[in-house]
Amino acid sequence: MTTEPVRGGDLVGQGIGPSNPQRRRLGIGLIVVATAGLLFVVVSQALDAGGAIHFGFSNWRPTLYAYVVWAIALGWGQVLARGEAGWRALFILPAVLFVFAFALFPTLSGLFIAMTDWNLSAAVGPRFNGLSNLVALFSDRFYWNALGNMVFYTAMVMVEYAIAFGLALLLNADIKGRKFWRVTFLLPFMLSPVAVSWMIGKSMLEGRFGPIARLARWLGWESPTFFAQPWMAKLSIEAMDAWVSIPFVMILLLAGLQALPKEVQEAARVDGAGPWQGFWQITFPLMLPVSVTAIVLRMIFKLKLADIVINVTSGGPGGATDTVSSFIYREYRDRSNVGYGTMLAMVYLVMIIVFVTLLLNFLSKRMQRMT
């Protein structure tokens, strides 16, 4: 990080008052001194770890503390040096510095691991193998199979969104016992995924006595099996995941609905529009930004779907329910093949970033046209 990572801009034409030159020098000086201090601690720890000199550090905590001190000095220095703009930078600095500190090492070491041939059981440890893992990935047909499944699971997010929107509207209506309904609708999200897998996946959907199987039989399905045929299995997994996650989307949308200005909806009514028209012409467009957030967050969670699949089907039958995460999970954990497993994840990460970027661009264009 350079000494001046964040630069405040203009807020609605309000100029940034030039701060007192003395304070400015003080602020910059503070940042420079703190940076030098941080560098000193990092370098001496690195030398100590490398064995060049001996300070007797037992761990890297000193670097952590130095980073915290540096971060505080950086924030303070910003305020001193840049006044109002510095105060504005303070809003975002904690989150950025926090995420940066935690993401830096795992990302770098993840990239390194992805380029090694590393089976944890191998006595030789990691061996650098460049992009071999990437090459191997392209001929791994069950990885692509899992990716194909993700298309289905991700597409189903739109169905979940539709249901969640309906529920959010219900909860937003003038209803009696609001607290009860809201907490009730939120309950499925509170159950841990392990419990969902077992209580629903293995108990309620059990073929002989499970209540859902019995209901299915009562409805005329002779031998209900929820995980034997590929499509049925996919749908069953999706249904469980939807049951858990719809409340997540619902709460976001509900919070969005509650934040809508009242006049807007009143205006819709005064215009004489029916509820249906009112919804499509007024509420839905206004809810678009919240909807985009809800859908994007939900899709990212969906793209990481793993627990239920691992516990209930292990990806079966024949990979029909496998997700990329559960696939990686088996490679990385069950087979300790961490180099290849990490590369699978990194490629997936790139794909998701591209996908989400395109999606956000597409949606923002659509939104501009609609509003």
Binding site: V6, R7, K304, V338
Partner: protein, 310 residues
């Protein structure tokens, strides 16, 4: 939908009023039917879980549904945790284990959620109101930078985090887990809160500035109260996600910082599954969330809108 229940407007024609009345009643019936149907969908598996904690294996396998009608409730599940009436007074290592994990879960869930909501809201307000530039990154890129932290399947972070936490002496340390959980829920908070702040007109900020409030004063005194519904929603969602986090809890804790989800998962293994114990644990585990949900629900209501402030 709000307009369905919006109440009758005064209209001249009596017949029209009557038909509106009918439509209103039908609307109400449809509304409550939908509520009841979804409540059933939401509650039945929970009911199944709670009743299972009072079943013995026979009743689980036979799919018995109603206590006292088709099965006799038993304390088996709760007894195996040392939480049944007859074992509550005696020494039980299982209960000690449960309580330790329970309070750890509360500590870490609350710690991470509060931290994430605080720094996430600040960042979201900044992103909503000011233009930042850091190297090549502008506001949208910074938002996406936060979001991208959410994408990588956590399983491949196992080795990096083990090494990192070993070097920082944060293994089996509650602080380590709180920081990690904060990292995982921070993007959600930032995105939710940014939406909330975006819907609040900037005129409010300007008015506050005219009144002599700085950006922080504006944020704390004027904007944050308006964004309360979103803040509470973000907090609840973060709390639930942290509460149920299993993967890192199993990886990074040993004997001090361990949390509940690992114990729930421990009810399955090579001897099949202790349905009753898993159900009892799951039931016990959602209780704090329900209580917090009930307590905080009231804040997910219409905040002060632009109109009411004017």
């Amino acid at each position: 939908m709000t307009s369905i229940t919006g109440g009758a407007r005064i209209v001249d024609d009596g017949r029209e009023a009557a038909s509106r009345q009918t439509r209103h009643v039908i609307g109400q019936i449809a509304l409550y039917s939908a509520l009841v149907v979804w409540a059933f969908v939401s509650l039945f598996p929970i009911y199944w879980t709670i009743t299972t904690s009072f079943k013995v294996a026979k009743d689980v396998q036979a799919g018995h549904l109603v206590p006292w009608v088709d099965f006799q409730p038993s304390w088996l599940g709760w007894r195996s945790l040392g939480l049944s009436p007859d074992t509550i007074g005696t020494l039980s290592t299982v209960r000690d284990e449960f309580m330790l994990r329970f309070f750890n879960s509360i500590e870490m869930g609350l710690g991470a959620s509060i931290l994430a909501v605080v720094i996430g809201s600040l960042a979201a307000y900044g992103l909503s109101r000011f233009q930042y530039k850091f190297l090549w990154m502008r506001n949208n890129d910074i938002s996406f930078f936060f979001l991208s932290q959410l994408i990588l399947p956590p399983v491949v972070l196992a080795l990096p985090f083990l090494v990192l936490y070993k070097e920082l002496a944060l293994l089996d340390n509650p602080v380590g887990l709180i920081l990690l959980y904060t990292l995982t829920v921070l993007p959600i908070v930032v995105w939710i809160m940014k939406d909330q702040f975006d819907t609040i007109p900037t005129e409010l900020d300007e008015a506050a500035q005219v009144d002599g409030l700085g950006p922080w004063g504006t944020f704390v005194r004027i904007i944050l109260p308006i964004a309360l519904p979103g803040t509470v929603a973000a907090f609840i969602l973060s709390l639930i996600l942290c509460w149920n986090e299993y993967f890192f809890a199993a990886l990074l804790t040993s004997s001090d910082a361990k949390t509940l989800p690992v114990m729930v998962a421990s009810q399955t293994g090579s001897q099949g599954i202790n349905w009753w114990a898993m159900a009892a644990l799951s039931t016990a585990a959602i209780m704090p969330l329900v209580i917090i949900g009930v307590a905080l629900e009231r804040y997910i209501i219409k905040g002060l809108t632009a109109g009411s402030v004017k």
